[in-house]
């Protein structure tokens, strides 16, 4: 027993002391979790995103009444003011100076928009207030919609298709303008707020709202850690130890291959446990994840995942002639297996010939199983029983190939 424990310990010590290994199996998953949560967890969060937009109000007059353009301008100005010190305002508003040449200003702002430095440019044209007033007074049916733009002085929202923030900002601006529109209609008596259609949102599969992004992504990142540990760590350790004749020194002692494997497996699973703990703690305490991994089926799935990926690593080690070939194979398989599993992007829209890979990929099943067991997935792409069967089949296949083909010593 002591030999098995010491071999496990040696495996863990080596992984932790070798900086490159430490990076890929500990630091990288942590980094990825952090980045993804910061990016995708942000969208929709108030006070975190800010868009640079331009507002050019051409319908200003000291003499005439301009209630609508004023209203629009004041709304946007308010949204460009920070509510408190901690949060950023939704917009950073760019407006022309008092005596500025408006045409020149517009040109330069549109150029900035094209170059990605502005998310949107709003232009309130001259005569806008009259147009709006006119449509309030006259029959609504006669008023042209935005498709008959030629004769109407519309508020133009200039946006760029090549910028994600432009698309988001535009959607937000449209919503704001719709709300202003509604306010005007209410004030003019045309729209009755009592008869407004109420709108409710229901989240299926969860009591308290949409699943937080970190809850959704954490199981995937944990699996990714196990996956990379198995895919790279197993061939890396076994093949390099073999090629450098480290293993040879063991085989001249009474140590048997089986006991070595037991120690190696124990060390490997301990490393997976270490990864899990680190990611779990980060997810919960740094990012507020609410999911719970304590249920029995979750624990069993995690263990199944760690064992499946370890077995897969042995499969690669068995089929590779040298350590470099093994690592190259691992590199080739890494991206397809990780991405064609639903880990980061949904796989629902993929063409049939790629779905074959998704269905053969053990990661897909383990990921779905894990997500379902912690409550971040309701539906199933595959029936429950396959979640366990497919990984087990891979373990079986790997064991068979490994027992036949893995060479435990280099040619003499």
């Amino acid at each position: 027993m002591k030999d098995i424990l010491l071999i496990a310990r040696a495996h863990i010590a080596t992984a932790v002391r070798e900086r490159v290994t430490l990076f890929w199996f500990l630091i990288f998953p942590v980094f990825l979790l952090t980045i993804l949560t910061l990016i995708f967890g942000q969208i929709g969060e108030e006070g975190e995103i800010s868009f640079d937009i331009t507002l050019l109000n051409r319908d200003r007059s000291p003499s005439a009444e301009t209630p609508f353009s004023d209203m629009i301008e004041s709304v946007f100005r308010e949204l460009a003011t920070a509510q408190d010190e901690a949060t950023q305002p939704l917009f950073v508003l760019h407006t022309p100076e008092e005596d500025a040449d408006l045409e020149g200003f517009l040109e330069s702002e549109l150029t900035e928009l094209r170059r990605g430095r502005r998310a949107a440019v709003l232009v309130i044209p001259e005569g806008f207030n009259d147009t709006v007033m006119g449509s309030l007074i006259e029959d609504s049916a006669e008023i042209a919609t935005s498709s008959e733009v030629g004769e109407i002085d519309s508020l133009r929202i200039f946006m760029s298709d090549t910028s994600v923030s432009s698309e988001y900002a535009t959607q937000i601006i449209q919503q704001i303008l719709t709300e202003i529109d509604r306010r005007i209609l209410i004030q003019s008596g045309r729209f009755s707020p009592d008869r407004a259609v109420s709108s409710e949102t229901h989240w299926i599969g969860r009591q308290d709202g949409e699943t937080p992004y970190v809850d959704y992504v954490l199981p995937g990142i944990i699996l990714m850690g196990f996956f990379m540990n198995g895919l790279f760590g197993v061939p890396g350790t076994i093949l390099f130890s073999r090629d450098r004749k480290v293993l040879r020194r063991y085989w001249v002692t009474p140590l048997s291959v089986l006991r070595y494997l037991a120690g190696f497996g124990l060390g490997h699973l301990t490393l997976c446990g270490l990864q899990f703990s680190l990611l779990f703690l980060l997810g919960v305490y740094a990012f507020g994840a609410t999911i719970n991994f304590a249920a029995l089926d979750t624990v069993l799935l995690l263990v199944l995942a760690a064992v499946t990926f370890m077995a897969f690593g042995f499969l690669i080690a068995s089929l590779a002639k040298t350590a470099n070939a093994g690592m190259a194979t691992a590199n080739i398989l890494n991206i397809p297996m990780m991405f064609l599993s639903g880990m980061f992007f949904p796989t629902s829209g993929l063409p049939a010939f790629i779905m074959v890979i998704v269905y053969a990929n053990p990661v897909s099943y383990l990921l779905e199983g894990l997500r379902r067991s912690v409550g971040v997935q309701n539906s199933t792409i595959m029936p429950s029983i396959w979640i366990v069967i497919v990984p087990l089949l891979w373990i079986l296949l790997s064991s068979l190939v490994t027992s036949r083909r893995l060479k435990w010593d280099v040619e003499r």
């Binding site: 980045i35 990016i39 929709g44 094209r114 042209a144 910028s163 303008l177 709108s199 629902s348």
Partner: protein, 356 residues
Amino acid sequence: MTAFRALLISELKIFSRDRMAMFFTLLFPLVFILIFGFLMRGIGDVDQARLGILFTSETDGQSLMQTIEEAGSMDLSFFESQEELEDAVAARTIDFGMHWDGSGLQFFYDANRVQENFAFEQVARGIATEFDFRRQAVTRVLPIEEVHVGTIQSIGWYNLVLPGILAFSVLSAGLFAVSGHLTQMKQRNILDRLIVTPMPPMALLSAIVVIRLGVVFISTLITLGVGIAVFGLQFEVDWFRFVIFVICATLGTMGMGTIIALLVRRPSSASSLANVLAMVMMFFAGIYFPIEFMPAFLRSVGKGLPLTHMANAMRYVTGVIEMSELEFWAITFSLLGFAIVLFPVLARYVVRPLRR
């Protein structure tokens, strides 16, 4: 035969005979491109959304259906009960559900479709707003028009991503030419054997540069071709600027590789470090994820990275975004500047015997 020519031929042979290297440099990025292309194709595309509808009231039903039809071409299916509707959402046979009971709209979403719900919610919001107006027979009073600027319009997210991937592959090629290929030669003592001859180090470096440039051009052209042929992406390549940019970028990133090779003591660590840095840069430079939504301090990290600017410049030369001439040439010449400053350092301090 000059040293340069001889080295060029031998480097070419080494590259073409090393099937692994050829695969990784030319074909593997294609695997990447194809996988990501198919995965990202559907993102943000709401026209194909599947909406489940439940009416428990006939009131204003027609008006509501008109609003829905005008909202965009969606796949509609009708349900008899709320339970059925909710089950369908959970089973993902529909993307979201809507229930009209005569006075209010209820929308149902799968709480776990975290990355997709945003788009569905947009559609739902639009339907609710339009229906609200339509029901009270009012139309909007604010005339609003969206104007799309820019040379290429209505392009998908992937059209933006692909040039970023190209920029990343140029970065990898340059980095690993030094902190990979060259350092490996050093580690295997191959470099020693060359250095003890009168071979000028610049001859070796020039040979490596030429091969890398050739590889980079071939792989970027293949990638562009695949993007256009398989995914129908649109590019308007400014070939003059493209060629100049790729040359300067490859040289510049080789210069960056020099910095890495100088920092690490053991040659074998150089490629590991280069790998790590490339990966980190890939995330912060907004290649696959938009950095616009990162917190401010992370965004500024991104803005400080060469890859961010390389990606933008690549998007510019492939006609996907606009950029000022000044900015483009500033980026290009900065990269060239890197090379000019660092190549002599490379020749002097990296191309030298491994100290035992």
